[in-house]
């Protein structure tokens, strides 16, 4: 019942051109196919260009170590990014992920420092993340607070809790189990990358192959219609917020594993990073569509640029500027193209 909702959103562009003059038609369909490919992965082109430029500009970029670094960094951002993709596809945001990162790290590290086994501490951290997500979901659905404001408030609250939990101090731990999360390798592949690949496969499957993914997109394209057709809208929304909370908790574990510490100050501004990755990847802010591949490419693109700027010894300030400009450019291109498409359809 909900399946056509998504199918019908596929852009009708391209097909109308088949009846054109035969000399042009093949070129036109080829252009159409290329267009659709660009549509599916709009970031592939800039990614290749940036990679080429960096290969030429520096001699270290193409080394195996460096590429692994880029992929690991991208994988770490991609995990919350993928969850956020679901949330944005539902037409909503979660601004509290940065604070959840801090709280998870703080709780886990404090438990480890208190002598608990690392596995238990990590599990508690994940539960804390899921708990934050659950609170978000309940406040949004049951109290009817706009997601933007509800998660803005939990951003402030959870950050406060994280600071209170650690007493404003850094909790430094040395736990091999926690360290394994960021520095370990499975069959030679870094653990964060393995986690990201699993998360990506899971996200792709959920979005493209499960009723749950279709329902999330259905809520994003028209919540009222989704409710009328009998979807348990509230339950689905709460589930998505719990997923985002869990992903943020994983992010928090990875970050505190990298730094070997927990602190209320971790993850400042991370919520914007997670949203940036998704938005650059082409998931529309209005909801209704989720692009898992786009989010992955977005994460790789951003981390490639960061890495390149590091290799070129530019100060961190320029990294912010370039990420900002990238975000704005990506969306400008998207909206200009959407307008062109709309106009060609109107003619």
């Amino acid at each position: 019942m909900t399946a056509p909702l998504r199918r019908s959103r596929k852009s009708p562009g391209g097909h109308g051109r088949v009846g054109a003059i035969s000399a042009n038609s093949r070129a036109a369909t080829r252009a159409g196919r290329l267009g659709r490919m660009v549509e599916a992965a709009p970031l592939a082109v800039p990614l290749v260009l940036v990679a080429l430029a960096l290969t030429m500009a520096t001699d270290r970029f193409l080394s195996a170590d460096n590429l692994t670094n880029v992929l690991v960094a991208a994988g770490i951002v991609a995990i919350p990014g993928l969850a956020m993709t679901l949330c944005i596809a539902m037409g909503e945001f979660d601004l509290s992920v940065g604070s959840t990162v801090a709280l998870t790290g703080a709780v886990t590290c404090t438990w480890i420092a208190g002598g608990q086994p690392a596995g238990v501490a990590m599990l508690v951290g994940l539960l804390v993340g899921a708990g934050v997500g659950l609170v978000n979901g309940l406040v949004i659905t049951k109290l009817g607070v706009t997601p933007f404001i509800a998660t803005l408030a939990t951003l402030v609250i959870v950050r406060g809790l994280a600071l209170a939990y650690t007493g404003g101090r850094d909790v430094i731990v040395s736990s091999s189990a926690l360290k394994y999360l960021a520095a370990g390798r499975i069959l030679g592949v870094p653990v964060p990358l393995v986690l990201a690949i699993v998360a990506a496969a899971l996200a792709w499957w959920v979005v493209n192959r499960t009723p749950f993914g279709r329902r999330v997109c259905a809520i994003g394209s028209n919540r009222e219609a989704a409710r009328m057709s009998g979807l348990a809208v509230d339950r689905i929304r709460i589930t998505v917020y719990v997923i985002v909370g869990l992903a943020a908790a994983v992010w928090g574990l990875l970050i505190s594993s990298q730094l070997q510490k927990g602190s209320g100050q971790l993850g400042l501004g991370f919520e914007l990073d997670a949203i940036t990755v998704v938005v650059i990847g082409g998931t529309a802010l209005l909801g209704g569509r989720a692009s898992v591949v786009g989010t992955l490419l977005g994460a790789v693109l951003i981390e490639t640029i960061r890495n390149g700027l590091n290799l070129l010894n530019t100060p961190p300030a320029y990294q912010r500027i370039s990420v900002g400009l990238l975000l704005v450019t990506a969306l400008a291109v998207q909206s200009v193209r959407a307008r062109a498409r709309r106009e060609s359809r109107d003619d």
Binding site: V156, L163, G230, L272, T276, P315, R320, I321, L327, V336
Partner: protein
Amino acid sequence: MTDTVTPPVPDTARVPTIQRRWARRQSLGALWDTWGITAVLVVLLAGSPLVSPDFFTVANAQSVLRESAYLGIVAAAMTLLIMSGAFDLSVGGQLALVSVTTLMGYAAGGTALAIVVAVATGIACGVVNGTLVTALRVPPFVATLGMLFVFRGIAYVLTQDGPKTLPYSEIGSPFVKIGGLDIAGLPLPFLIMVGCYAAVWVLLRRTATGRRIVAYGSSPEAARFCGISGNRIRMTVFVLIGLSVGIAALTYISRVWTADGSAQDGFELRVIAAVVLGGTSLKGGKGTLIGTFSAVLLVGVLNDLLVSGGVDASYQRVVLGCVLITALAIDGLRTRFAAPGSFARLFRRPPKAVPAR
């Protein structure tokens, strides 16, 4: 093309809103919309001596008003912007950038140049945001999110050799007076803030532009059919935001004396929180200035009480966040139960939903 057409104002809109409202009996809900947060503020003020005996000393009251000013000034413009159905996430970056350039301007040419630079930088930021949103059609959320990074980045680049500061020898300068002067016992920043609210009120309630902003916010499509140029409205509100940040930065930096790229991290969210707390709807088209004004003071007073009550800084955030959720939850529940009989429906069994496949 639509730019040149003056929109026909519908007849009903010519009747002053205030008169129409008072003609009928006001519902409790409508009263709450406009004055709710002010009432909460009054209650809080009345109860404050219980928590902190020296709350009502002149020095303390002055410091609360002074501290609230820069947030309040930007919140005034943000109320307009949110009423027009957009919001600006870049004000934190703008404030950092304007603060840095203002200090550079002061170092180069004294107070006058500093003021000119502050206002000019602010407006420039607003024009950039406005252009992105109107000419390039980037959604405001993303455009201003991107520019948040960019403005902050530029501020960082400008302060690479250390934060810009005002040397202590400048303590007698008129520039410092902007943040420090008291007129008739009221701090100048607060007076500037009141002036900004008066100006925005006039713009909103007494000019065609104000009506167009509200009309555009409540329904962009309908406004377009009335011949209102959406682009011009959006450009206006974004430039006003920039201007307000310019003014706010003057009152802020002349008090704090130092700025770098990290100045006022998270400012954008605090501004939006204050506006929303004041009862302005994020969907656009609905909002009150008095609400924003009271919400800004409420946040200031609450902060002050928590500090003087000895509450740890980390719990202050928790309290403020909970206040925000409570305010919005009241609003959300109110709209949910606005329809007659909707409350009674809670206790009846809901009709069985069609199971989803």
